[in-house]
């Protein structure tokens, strides 16, 4: 990592980084990492056999660091557009706390370490899947799709949906229907989640030149697609129960939460102007986070109880 830059604004004082560990942690997108750990843990515990605590912890750590590395590489590549948006302008690179080269070195180092660690502690399949997740997020989503198509987060959402699959594969060495359901759940959840935010922040995305759906196809088309995805998501949310992976309680919870998701999406579709339209969109955005958290928390809780009771 290049802590010493080539030039300095102050003669006699080299431009040595004044970044704190906290700035480097910010590069890892800790909030995204916490979601990755949460969903990967759910995938890991869905393994049909007992997973050693140490191996499980090491695997989760590797997956979390891999996700963080992808976040750092995303911030390295997107520093130019991050500086133009209110939500991202305080990130370490736009504020000058960390240089792009430092972020690149940091991200690549962590990515290599995370993949090798997962290969050593779990298996090659899981490591390859983690490497693919990082590659997909950085090269396919960040470098290509994000700036070229309004379907960026639809396809790119696969990167965010892979952690439970990686967790399951780390524990078992293979893919199963249950792991694929968890993947699909996050994959279908991603578009309405991000488009709700994009409706409110469309001007910022427009300034930054990011072709989000509201900027390219218009707000009305976005509202319709949010509603369609929400309907599919509400049905898919019940799949773990319908396929026998979760309890009746989960089935009821997914039905209630799914109905609330669709109701909020319908509000977004119906209210199209003024502050109220933005309020509806932000309400859906906030609820979408709660929705995914509660579904995965319930699945995780049921699995922990099942493992503890040996059922």
């Amino acid at each position: 990592m290049a802590f010493l830059e080539e030039s300095s604004a102050v003669p006699g004082i080299a431009a040595i980084s004044a970044a704190s560990p906290r700035d480097y942690i910010a590069l890892l997108k800790p909030r995204v990492m916490s979601l990755v750990v949460f969903t990967a843990l759910t995938g890991l515990l869905f393994a049909p056999h007992h997973v050693n605590v140490v191996i499980g912890f090491a695997s989760l750590l590797a997956i979390a660091v891999g996700a963080g590395a992808a976040g750092a590489l995303n911030m390295w590549y997107d520093a130019d557009i991050d500086a133009l948006m209110r939500r991202t302008c305080r990130r370490p690179i736009p504020t000058g706390k960390i240089t792009g080269r430092e972020a690149l070195g940091f991200g690549l180092t962590l990515a290599v370490f995370a993949v090798l660690t997962l290969a050593l502690v779990a298996n090659l399949f899981a490591a390859a899947l983690l490497a693919f997740t990082i590659f997909f997020y950085v090269a396919i989503y960040t470098m290509w799709l994000k700036r070229s198509t309004p379907q960026n987060i639809v396809i790119g959402g696969a990167a965010g949906a892979l952690p439970p699959l990686v967790g399951y594969v780390a524990a078992t060495g293979q893919v199963s229907l249950c792991a694929l359901i968890l993947f699909t759940l996050i994959f279908v959840w991603t578009p309405p989640h991000f488009w709700a935010l994009a409706l409110v922040r469309s001007a910022e995305y427009g300034r930054a030149g990011v072709p989000m759906l509201p900027n390219v196809k218009g707000a009305d088309r976005t509202r319709l697609e949010i509603l369609i995805y929400s309907l599919v998501l509400a049905l898919l949310g019940a799949a773990p129960f319908l396929l026998g992976f979760a309890s009746v309680f989960y089935g009821c919870l997914s039905a209630v939460l799914g109905a609330a998701f669709v109701a909020l999406a319908f509000d977004v579709y119906r209210v199209r102007s003024g502050d109220r339209a933005n309020q509806c969109a932000m309400r859906l955005f906030g609820f979408s986070i709660l929705y995914l958290f509660l579904l995965f928390a319930e699945l995780l809780g049921e699995r922990i109880i099942a493992l503890a009771t040996g059922s």
């Binding site: 006699g12 004082i13 980084s17 004044a18 704190s20 480097y24 140490v54 090491a58 050593l120």
Partner: protein
Amino acid sequence: MELEHRSEETVLTPEQIKSRRQRNIAIGLAVGLLVLLFYAVTIVKLDPGILNRPL
């Protein structure tokens, strides 16, 4: 000669010294954690059966 050499050395501000120290501590802790993690994983993967191998 010694003084001339010193004048070319990098001068750090108190903020740079503080942040470098913090980074060093963080790297040290991370490496220490990694050593412990790999030690624990090795012990788990070795399995108790390793002691019963034929000589």
